[in-house]
């Protein structure tokens, strides 16, 4: 056993010997809380759609990615109301880029219907960066049926371009900041809204879809190697001609 799963391995220490990269991701046994609630249910459904009970990836899986990471906000802060809007700031930390994977899609899944203290609220998410291109997944916009793993009160917004253009290649610590905004619906009781309670609820989470770049990296290296070879050969040939 060599005890390595029980010691917390710094996940992206490049000098680690090539142990199973599975073990590299092992958190220490004193890991904090086991995930729960809707985020866990969402990922369990995603897993069941993508793999059979033995863990074999399904042939007909539609996930389109080798790796999907669900990130919960690391920090939530309530802002004073802005007119009819109750605002909460959500910060999502983005782990450092792994060389072997490239980001192909990013979505934020959030509650667009919320019931809080007898109040019915409708909510939406705004990105912190102005003029950031987002689009809702067709299912929630056109009102046609949602992806099977989505409960009715949640919806999904694609922010791939926003993240790739504004954030993904930035150096250092990268945090995606979103604004979660809710408005009390007409007709619901106008009791004093304990908005502060919101910070304890799961209201949104980020999904990052990655594909494995191994093939593409090797193809690039090969192509570059061949270019160098042909350059060297041609100079060699030139020399032999001389």
């Amino acid at each position: 056993k060599a005890g390595w799963p029980s010691t917390a391995l710094p996940a992206d220490d490049p000098t680690l010997p090539s142990i199973l990269d599975l073990a590299k991701e092992a958190p220490s046994k004193e890991m904090r809380q086991w995930p729960q609630g809707y985020p866990l249910r969402y990922m369990l459904k995603l897993y069941q759609r993508s793999a059979d009970p033995h863990g074999h990836p399904r042939e007909n899986r539609t996930i389109g990615a080798k790796m999907v990471r669900l990130i919960k906000p690391s920090n939530t802060a309530v802002r004073p109301p802005r007119g009819p809007w109750h605002v909460q700031i959500l910060d999502f930390p983005l782990a450092s880029n792994q060389v072997a994977y490239e980001l192909i899609r990013a979505t934020v899944v959030y509650r667009h219907q919320l019931h809080l203290a007898h109040s019915h609220l409708s909510c939406h998410v705004e990105t912190w960066v102005p003029k950031c291109q987002t689009k809702h997944s067709p299912s929630s916009k056109s009102g046609s049926s949602k992806p099977p793993s989505m409960s009715k009160s949640w919806t999904e917004m694609d922010i791939t371009q926003c993240i790739q253009q504004k954030l993904w290649n930035r150096k250092g610590r990268r945090v995606l900041r979103l604004r979660f905004m809710c408005q009390q619906q007409k007709g619901s009781e106008t009791l004093e809204l304990r908005w502060q309670d919101m910070t304890s609820l799961d209201v949104a989470f980020l999904l990052l879809y990655f594909n494995d770049t191994d093939e593409s990296i090797q193809a690039k290296l090969l192509a570059r190697g061949q270019e160098e070879l042909t350059d060297r050969e041609s100079s060699f040939l030139t020399r032999s001609v001389r």
Binding site: A11, E25, A26, P27, P35, G55, P57
Partner: protein, 125 residues
């Protein structure tokens, strides 16, 4: 090749299952992530079937074992020239991936497909 030319020599199946005479072959094996001490961070699957290869690599290496020529030569060297040169080893030949749902150290939930996690067939090398 002998089995393909001499009609009275039976040809083994394409994937080698010579378990009958303890030749190199695939052995099914199921293990839980709890047994591996990984269940505090792996959510799914609960059970994992890595399988393993076991058996001897002597005698005529059957065509279906996909052994490279080097393995055949190494076996001959072991038998005819120098016993201290080991016989070829029985190792996995084809693998299958495994999808895993796990919790990362920072609390994120990760779905990931890991290549080379399940041995599907064996060879002598």
């Amino acid at each position: 090749q002998a089995c393909s030319t001499a009609s009275d020599v039976s040809c083994p199946s394409r994937e080698h299952d010579g378990s009958a005479n303890n030749q190199c072959s695939l052995h099914p094996y199921k293990v839980s992530f709890h047994q591996l001490g990984w269940d505090h961070w792996i959510i799914a699957p609960r059970l994992y079937t890595p399988n393993y290869c076991k058996g001897i690599c002597t005698g005529v290496l059957p065509y279906g074992l996909n052994s490279p020529n080097h393995a055949i030569v190494q076996r001959l060297v072991n038998e005819l020239v120098n016993h201290s040169v080991p016989q070829p080893s029985c190792v996995p030949y084809h693998f299958l991936p495994l999808s895993i749902l796990l919790i990362e150290a920072n609390g994120s939930i990760l779905y990931k497909e890991y290549e080379g996690m399940i041995a599907q067939s064996c060879t002598c090398r």
